[in-house]
């Protein structure tokens, strides 16, 4: 509910899905953070026989640039949360969002497109997408890129930020970028971008949004014994959604890393079958 903008996935649809679940008798406990309010072990102690973890990949990545903590620099998560979930776009919403004139979005995925379009719709005059590879490699879906272009988002491809510049009051005033060229393919098969020496330039901006991916939140894995994770912090599961701990299942972004709603829903269904089997066989 927090990330995907209304124009992509209307909240009423999500709400209908939730109502459907409630009608089927699913109890929803809000205001509970697993790992803090309660642990997975305590859920078992309470008598639950299986636990499914679908905690998503919510931790925003930053680039560790100098000036990244200046005012006016946001993670896409923060920007989209303020804008979508907390309705900073409405008058009367209590959550503030800065009114910017020139916004730089870093990244080339769907999240970057969403952030760019949200910024544009909030009335930001110039919205730039800075991506270090070329149009070919842009990971966002093609339609998303087209929509973004239609809405007047300006694409600065083969560019990479190297430093955020600030003014005396600690606000961002620009982003120093460098031009890139594509070199040899790396292990992912995509051409590796390399900096062009001496091609530095400054892009004036009063807002910067980092949309360079997320990683899974360590809260559950760090408070639950026996849950293995991979190098990226994603939970390790088999095809049925079984984690390395008995009775604990998982799916969605928490397992795959940031992916899609459809994949997450599929993983949920598969795991539901496995959970059903697991509980039946136990008896």
């Amino acid at each position: 509910m927090y990330g995907i903008p209304e124009f992509r996935l209307p909240k009423t649809i999500v709400q209908q899905e939730i109502e459907g679940l409630k009608e089927m008798g699913v109890e929803i406990e809000c205001n509970t953070v697993i790992g803090r309010s309660q642990t997975v072990d305590e859920l078992f102690e309470e008598g639950y026989e299986a636990v499914f973890i679908g905690s998503g990949a919510g931790l925003p990545n930053f680039m560790n640039l100098s000036g990244e903590n200046l005012k006016g620099v946001y993670s896409a998560n923060e920007f989209l949360t303020r804008c979508n979930l907390m309705k900073a776009y409405q008058k009367g919403g209590d959550t503030p969002l800065q009114r910017a004139k020139r916004a730089v979005i870093v990244g080339g995925g769907n999240v970057a497109m969403d952030a760019a379009r949200c910024a544009k719709r909030l009335g930001v005059g110039h919205v730039y997408i800075v991506y270090r590879r070329s149009m070919e490699e842009l990971p966002a879906r093609k339609e998303e890129v087209e929509h973004a272009m239609e809405e007047g988002i300006e694409f600065l491809l083969l560019r990479n930020p190297i430093r955020v510049l600030g003014n005396e009051e600690g606000w961002i005033r620009g982003v120093e970028c460098v031009e890139m060229e594509l070199g040899e393919p790396d292990e992912s098969g995509r051409c590796r971008p390399v900096e062009k020496n001496g091609s530095n330039f400054v892009l004036e901006a009063d807002c910067m949004i980092m949309a360079i991916g997320t990683s899974p939140n360590p809260l559950i894995r760090s408070t639950t014994e026996g849950l293995e994770t991979n190098r990226k912090g994603c939970l390790v599961c088999d095809e049925q959604g079984r984690t390395t701990r008995e009775g604990v299942f998982a799916g969605g972004d928490a397992v795959s890393g940031a992916a899609t709603v459809i994949l997450a829903m599929g993983a949920g269904k598969t795991a539901a079958k496995a959970i059903d089997e697991y509980i039946k066989n136990k008896q």
């Binding site: 927090y2 809000c30 205001n31 509970t32 953070v33 803090r36 309010s37 309660q38 919510g58 931790l59 925003p60 930053f62 560790n64 990244e68 903590n69 200046l70 005012k71 006016g72 946001y74 993670s75 998560n77 923060e78 949360t81 303020r82 907390m86 309705k87 009367g92 919403g93 209590d94 959550t95 503030p96 800065q98 009051e169 600690g170 939140n217 360590p218 809260l219």
Partner: protein, 281 residues
Amino acid sequence: MYRILRKQRLNPTVTRMVIDAPKVARKAQAGQFVILRVKEDGERIPLTIADYDAMAGTVTIIYQIVGATTMLLDRLEQGDAILDFVGPLGRPSEVKHLHKVCVIGGGVGCAIAYPTAKALHENGAEVTLISGFRNKDLVILQEEFQAVSKTCHLVSDDGSTGKKGLVTDVLKELIEQGESFDEVIAIGPLVMMKFVCLLTKQYSIKTIVSMNPIMIDGTGMCGCCRLSVGGEMKFACVDGPDFDGHAVDFDEAISRSSTYREHERKAREEACNLFHKEVAS
């Protein structure tokens, strides 16, 4: 919904509420906080767990009325309920390894310092307490502080209560008199914490500060609570709120805390106007 069991005004702008929140109370430890939302579409604000009673299932919050949301919260009375109340969040303060500690509270920061001082006291540590306020009307929690400390010092900016001066004056005096502390724990305005740290650095006394940057989710999701500690980026909500004060970049934190100053001023004025209209009509 989370019912307000008791409400008590501690000074003209600071209020204490005891909230019925058994799940939070069961898990709470000193140094942790909750995030609450008063109404649908309202802002989510973090408040420290000022006290808790796991048996009774209650959590105490102490808040200063500074803006729109705390104003809205303060309009609720005993018997009313808060919409959302999530916690406990953040890492608990580390108190077990300490024997002799100086706890410093500045202003409403005393509400955050109190549970830590209490936990230290309950763990058998000797606590020296220094609390500072702008003037005598703003003093809070003195009885509570006395109950959990060996010595308790009070200072005010204008000398209207306690000694005239700053918390750093008292700390310096104690150190010069030969007092030694395993650790200093300072909680209050950023500027106060910064100056405590500058002082303790001279004497090489480890200093822990509690950082209260603007937060949204309090679970590591948004990154808006980020700060630089020892040159690394940390998220106060999951890596803190307690940090090694000598490693914190206070100037950056002070700058970031002013991000929404203009918006907050407007929201506060609007809230004031709205409440006045309601009262008038």
